[in-house]
């Protein structure tokens, strides 16, 4: 009998073009290459310089999300809001895609959006695929049982030219989540708790497979939120075994196989799950039933506590630097902190269910005086669906801004920034110094916690508003 294999083992083995040896890494085939405007220009420049064509434009999916405006764009003149060099980058992306024959979901496309939101939406992110992008949150697509990871621009060039990467096989880490999440506690809270538990370098060198009853119970959007933040624990990728929930999500989407091909694919995909007795290099166990809404207090996602817990006090230069930057007092609860900005969006929490969670809290309430709340859908499709459901009216009635899709305030490249010194509660994934703007102080939270904080004007437990 063949040895038991993990999902990672199976997907890896299916994509080895040349096996790895002590002297050289494997040549690994890539099924889907996602590209965006920020991490590709230098790669295209190299191809041009050497006269190399893109090997598989058909396996390359392009969009613009990072430095794009979240105000409507109907002509290049509308790009002025993002500044000259970002506008130039966007124009260059259009040019590169045209020249190299790559289909671009640009401003004229109703499928434009954050690269990690549109891949799944289009059904391009499928179980068993290898998926890469010049973006660390490529780990998101692992929710489908795809081996999906971020690469640098040099590697973007490698994939454009050869559809392959030089890779050594990562180690495997099982994160077993037993039980069920209590009411009012979301996938975002769970992944923040996991990062708090294993640390921001806890997954370095590993691919995390999220397993257990609590993970099985999550819908696909929640699973994407979990896998998205694998990189914040230092992991190369996150994975969840494909199951009926995966199939239900994918069925009928534009890029999935149809008819008899679908049946064959579905059967193959379900067979990718880790074998029952497969061994992982490491494993960690978490009890979902013990979880609560989580918020960060420091300058990385591992500096995290329950929304009602007290901020710890440590004597350590890294901790002190974080506290100096955040101007948060150790020993106090996070609710002591008044909020200036609330951001709901990003590839972590910019999907329909995330906006729905925020709207459920906001419904019938107003954003507190002096708080600016920005709601940015993860894609134009999310925007469309949210408007069909009338969510935009709930946001508007509460006094929040409703925008076009994009990365926006997650990294503040397009002019949507938090001013220096202001405190932001954000549903994004990084609370690094300056991430949302120079001197911006970021608290990471779920859409529900963000919305509750907007209403109450301070960091707040969403369960108190229901």
């Amino acid at each position: 009998m063949a040895a038991a294999r993990t999902l990672l083992d199976k997907v890896w083995a299916d994509h080895v073009v040349v096996p790895e040896t002590a002297a050289a890494p494997a040549v690994l085939y890539i099924d889907l290459h996602l590209i965006h405007e920020v991490t590709t220009p230098q790669a295209f420049a190299l191809l041009r310089e050497r006269g190399i064509a893109v090997r598989r434009p058909d396996l390359t999916l392009a969009t613009m999300d990072h430095s794009t405006p979240t105000t409507p764009v109907s002509s290049f003149r509308d790009l002025a809001v993002v500044g000259e060099s970002a506008a130039n980058q966007i124009r260059q992306m259009e040019e590169n895609c045209r020249e190299f024959g790559i289909e671009l979901y640009g401003f004229d496309s109703e499928h434009r959006g954050i690269v990690h939101v549109i891949g799944p939406e289009l059904g391009a992110s499928q179980p068993g695929k290898t998926i890469v992008c010049g973006d660390s949150h490529t780990s998101t697509h692992g929710a489908f049982g795809a081996l999906a990871f971020g690469i640098g621009t040099t590697e973007v060039g490698h994939v454009l030219a050869t559809q392959c990467l030089l890779q050594r096989k990562p180690k495997s880490l099982a994160v077993n989540v037993s039980g069920r999440l209590p009411d009012g506690v979301t996938a975002k809270d769970l992944i923040l708790a996991i990062i708090g538990e294993i640390g921001v370098d806890g997954g370095t060198g590993h691919v995390i497979e999220y397993r257990g009853e609590a993970i099985r119970a999550l819908d696909m959007e929640a699973r994407m939120t979990i896998c998205n933040m694998s990189i914040e624990a230092g992991a190369r990728a996150g994975l969840i075994g494909p199951d009926d929930t995966t199939l239900e999500y994918l069925a009928g989407r534009p890029r999935v196989p149809q008819g008899a091909d679908w049946d064959a694919a579905a059967e193959r995909w379900l067979g990718l799950r880790s074998d029952d007795d497969a061994e992982f290099d490491r494993s960690v166990s978490i009890d979902a039933a013990k979880q609560q809404p989580m918020v960060t207090f420091g300058t990385n996602p591992g500096m995290v506590i329950g929304v009602n817990e007290l901020v710890p006090d440590l004597d350590d230069p890294t901790f002190r630097k974080a506290m100096d930057y955040m101007k948060i007092t150790p020993g106090k609860p996070m609710s002591a902190n008044a909020v200036d900005v609330v951001f709901v969006g990003s590839c972590t929490n910019g999907r329909l269910s995330d906006l729905q969670q925020a709207a459920d809290i906001l419904n019938g309430h107003k954003v507190a005086d002096g708080v600016r709340m920005l709601v940015v859908p993860g894609s134009q499709q999310v925007k469309l669906r949210a408007e069909e459901l009338g969510l935009h009216r709930i946001f508007a009635a509460a006094g929040a801004e409703w925008r076009e899709s994009g990365c926006s305030m997650c990294l503040g490249m397009n002019g949507d920034t938090v001013a220096s010194g202001q405190l932001s509660v954000s549903t994004s994934n990084r609370n690094f110094e300056g991430r949302q703007g120079v001197g911006a102080r970021t608290i990471l939270a779920s859409p529900a916690t963000a919305a509750a904080s907007a209403v109450l004007g301070h960091v707040a437990d969403p369960r108190t508003l229901n």
Binding site: V27, Q42, C164, L166, M413, E433, V438, G439
Partner: protein
């Protein structure tokens, strides 16, 4: 890529853990379409105050640290984003090696691809280096050895292929392209993308 075989330099020390790529180079500098000139943005918001003046207490601003080629940083250097602008900025500023107890995976990959050497040392060596900024070190890349001022040396782990590429100045794209026959036959026997 410039080959790197040996390196001798004094160190500059940033005794902070988990220095992320947003600190190494903030996102607002990523709208460039070139890889040149990013040294000016390196550690921008740590190096300069909001008026653009150098922060005196930031180690890189010490006049003695200007020509250092080796950066010693806290554990888990380079976590966060996949932006290759981080190693580009470090190299453009003048660094050729970074020493820590651990590097984030993508940063480490990106560093090697550009000829920036990530050196992983044990906790004791690391603590000693953190406590002695400005000491002169010699790195023998071929031997994977870090030579300390007291005459002692420590070996550091390095992937054989990464070392080979670094010491020979090998371009990995050229190496990958040599496998194009294997790639074509893989494509013929697999439903790629499907």
């Amino acid at each position: 890529m410039d080959a790197l075989t040996t390196l001798t330099s004094r160190t500059v020390v940033l005794p902070i853990r988990d220095i992320d790529t947003d600190q190494i180079i903030p996102a607002r500098f990523l709208t460039t379409t070139s890889r040149e000139g990013l040294g000016a943005a390196l550690f921008h918001d740590l190096r300069f105050d909001q008026h653009g003046a150098e922060r005196e207490d930031f180690p890189l601003n010490d006049p003695d640290a200007r020509d250092c080629r080796i950066l010693v940083a806290g554990n888990n250097f380079g976590c966060g984003s996949s932006r290759e602008h981080a190693p580009w900025a470090l190299l453009d500023y003048g660094f050729r090696a970074v020493i820590s107890t651990e590097f984030a995976d993508i940063f480490q990959n990106n560093a090697f691809k550009n000829g920036l050497l990530p050196i992983i040392v044990d906790v004791d060596t690391h603590n000693w280096l953190l406590a002695h900024p400005g000491v002169e070190l010699r790195v023998d890349v071929e031997a994977a050895q870090l030579e300390l001022p007291d005459g002692g040396s420590v070996e550091y782990p390095i992937d054989a292929f990464a070392r080979y590429c670094l010491t020979q100045g090998i371009d990995q794209l050229g190496y990958l392209q040599k496998h194009s026959d294997a790639i074509s036959s893989y494509e013929e026997t697999h439903a790629c993308g499907g």
